[in-house]
Amino acid sequence: MIKNKDSNKKILIAEDERAMLRALTDTFENEGFNVFGAEDGEKGLKIAFKEHPDVILIDLLMPKMDGISMLKKIREDEWGKDVPVIILTNLSDVDKIAETVENGISHYLVKTEWSLEEIVKKVKKLLKE
């Protein structure tokens, strides 16, 4: 396992689709991230407040608490104001996306249009900024 400069970085991935969560977890662990996974929004929020991750990936449609609500809660928190967040979605519902933009996400990406490699690149780029 290659350890690089992001080895100390914490990433929270909130994604209810197990196969996706696993692919993302494996990929980021491979990249040396300290990965925290959550299968729903509530759990994701709990981890976020406990661990204060350096970057968060949030799926839009999740049980218990959807991605937008989770993002809102994070942004309301003093720590969560500026944490980089990427919204993952397979919706291309522009209304929803417009809503996320209003709520101060850093980026959103449509899962089918991004390879894992590109997602990693995007996250690393965000952490550098």
Partner: protein, 610 residues
């Protein structure tokens, strides 16, 4: 002067002679004027000295014709023939024309011998004139009555027909003479007789009136008439009969009935229409509405709505728009399917659709608005459902595709252990096929959005060059493989538009991939961008296969693929141009092209700046 009378007789005669109201001329047996009275001067203006001694042959107060007649009559009278009074034209000293009635009697001496004629002339000019005028008038009236477009009908005190004009006879299908002498009641049915009796009573009371009446024609059919009737009374007020001026209104009546029927039909259509129909004045005040309007807005009675301004039935936030639309309708005459949030009586909001038109009077002047309003809650609900369906379908279809894509990617990269060359080749096939499936699903989702009307335009600041470059990046592998030359001719460094990013991506991805796909090796693709007043024009030209002229009209249809590219190894489902055109139309853009087979194609894309 010849003496005709004795002195005493003479004096008596003289006074009668002078006092007579008529002009008197005395002639001797030869026709010489031997005396005239003062009336002759008064009447004709000749003095005695101008006339006395002159013969009747040369009387200056007679014209040529009168001279001849006067002489003839003189000759006959002087020999004793009796001549009834006759009329003669006279000429005054001032050449005025007068008419006189002439009466002559013989003057005899004691021996009964005729010694002359006494001619008395009464002025009947006035009388004659008024007689003439009367005759003339009568003639005119007769003509008028005969030619009148209305019937004229006279009855006597016993209701017997004494006169009808030709039109009256025509109305009832008779000849005028057939009607004369017949009782009024013989031109109507029994019911008519009962009504007519009342009318006749009123005539006898001297009452004049207008009424309609149904007569029976000669052939037994009915005729509706409008009558203007007046009684005829003598000076003492005795009833002599009645006069009626009669108009045939059968056709008018039939038309009225038809009009009433059509009005009734129209009213029914409006009252039973499931859509709310209202008419308002030009200020928007509601004049009339149907039950559907009452129901739509949750009122219980029409009168609660009538008199309100139509704008009051529209939610506050849409009133400005409604007023603007009203002005537009007034100018343009018609408004189609304007969507408003409407109000119920209790203030509850609901989505509605309104179409309106201007109603004009016969001179073309706008007088009213007529509006049809529909509750579109159900439609909106379906639209919402459709949109949700697309979202869900999009999510459900894409999730497994993402998973397949990502895991293949991990395998390919050896994240699950090293793979051999053969395995890598196979995995690459899976990866590419998955990628194609993703593109196809995206395309189909976009099409379903457009066709369901749920494609939402989301304008933002878009850099056209970035959009084009990103599309080219996706094609870089193919461009490299085919050794295509890409030429960019941009008039400016950046083209920032306020438009929809995803629409721009769809348009350029489709057009550029077509250009690349349908151009053979070592060909050229040229991209030109130029800024115009309110739009940007993008030209994408290739040196490709071109589109056969016979198929050029179909290229924007769904699933169209040109004949000349089939079997050239080019893949595609024939949806790219269809979708490009569809999404462009969502933002008011346009697309067209020029193409020549074996030479290439140029697409022109016009995109509004905002």
């Amino acid at each position: 002067m010849i003496r005709l009378f004795s002195n005493r007789e003479g004096d008596r005669y003289k006074s009668i002679f002078e006092l007579s109201p008529e002009a008197i001329v005395i002639l001797d047996t030869k026709g010489n004027i031997i005396d005239i009275n003062g009336r002759v001067y008064d009447w004709l203006g000749f003095k005695p000295e101008e006339l006395i001694g002159k013969n009747i042959k040369e009387a200056p107060f007679l014209n040529k014709e009168s001279l001849i007649r006067a002489q003839e009559n003189f000759k006959r009278r002087i020999v004793g023939e009796k001549i009834p009074p006759y009329e003669l034209d006279f000429v005054t000293r001032n050449r005025g024309k007068l008419i006189g009635r002439v009466m002559a009697s013989q003057i005899t001496d004691r021996n009964k011998k005729i010694i002359g004629l006494i001619v008395m002339i009464s002025d009947i000019t006035r009388q004659k004139e008024s007689e003439e005028a009367l005759k003339e008038n009568e003639k005119k009236y007769r003509q008028l009555v005969n030619l009148a477009q209305e019937g004229v009908w006279l009855i006597d005190d016993k209701a017997i027909t004494t006169f009808v004009n030709p039109k009256m006879a025509e109305i009832l299908g008779y000849k005028a003479e057939e009607m004369l002498g017949r009782h009024l009641f013989s031109f109507m049915d029994e019911k008519g007789v009962e009504i007519c009796k009342n009318y006749l009573e009123r005539r006898k009371e001297g009452i004049k009136e207008q009424h309609d009446f149904e007569f029976l024609k000669k052939d037994g059919t009915r005729v509706f008439a409008l009558l203007e009737t007046s009684p005829i009374m003598d000076e003492k007020g005795n009833y002599l009969g009645a006069l009626a001026v009669v108009a045939d209104i059968t056709q008018r009546k039939a038309m009225e009935v038809r009009l009433k029927e059509s009005e009734e039909k129209f009213r029914n259509i409006i009252s039973f229409s499931p859509d709310a129909i209202t008419t308002t004045d030009l200020e928007g005040k509601i004049l009339e509405c149907n039950q559907a309007t009452v129901d739509l807005h949750g009122f219980s009675e029409k009168k609660e709505i009538i008199g309100k301004n139509a704008v009051e039935l529209i939610a506050l936030k849409d009133r400005k728009k409604a007023i603007k639309n009203m002005e537009k309708t007034f100018k343009g005459g018609i408004l189609k399917n304007a969507e408003y949030t409407l109000l119920k009586k209790d203030g509850q909001e609901f989505p509605g659709e309104l179409s309106a038109s201007v109603i004009r009077d016969s001179s073309g002047k706008p007088i009213l608005f007529m509006a049809i309003t529909k509750d579109i809650s159900e439609r909106k609900r379906i639209e919402q459902a459709k949109s949700e369906f697309t979202s869900i379908a999009s999510h459900q279809l894409r999730t497994p595709l993402s998973i397949m894509g990502w895991y293949t990617e991990m395998l390919l990269k050896g994240k699950a252990g090293a793979i051999n060359k053969q395995q890598k080749k196979y995995l690459k096939e899976i990866y590419d096929a998955n990628d194609n499936l993703v593109k196809l699903v995206n395309l189909l989702l976009n099409i379903s959005r457009i066709e369901l009307g749920t494609f939402v335009v989301n304008p933002s600041r878009v850099d056209l060059i970035k959009s084009i470059d990103s599309a080219l990046k996706h094609l870089s592998l193919e461009i490299k493989e085919k050794k295509l030359k890409i030429e960019k001719k941009y008039s400016e460094k950046h083209f920032f538009l306020k438009t929809d990013q995803s629409i721009m991506n769809i348009v350029f991805q489709n057009l550029l991939s077509n250009a690349v796909r349908y151009t053979s090796n070592k060909g050229k693709v040229e991209i030109l961008i130029a800024k115009k007043e309110t739009w940007v024009l993008v030209q994408i030209s290739d040196t490709g296969y071109g589109i056969p002229a016979s198929q050029q009209s179909q290229i924007f249809s769904r699933f169209f693929r040109a004949e000349n590219i089939k079997g050239k190894g080019a893949t595609g489902v024939g949806l790219g141009l269809y979708i490009a055109k569809s999404v462009l139309s969502q933002i008011g853009g346009e697309i067209w092209f020029k193409s020549k087979e074996k030479e290439g194609t140029t697409f022109y894309i016009k995109i509004p700046l905002e």
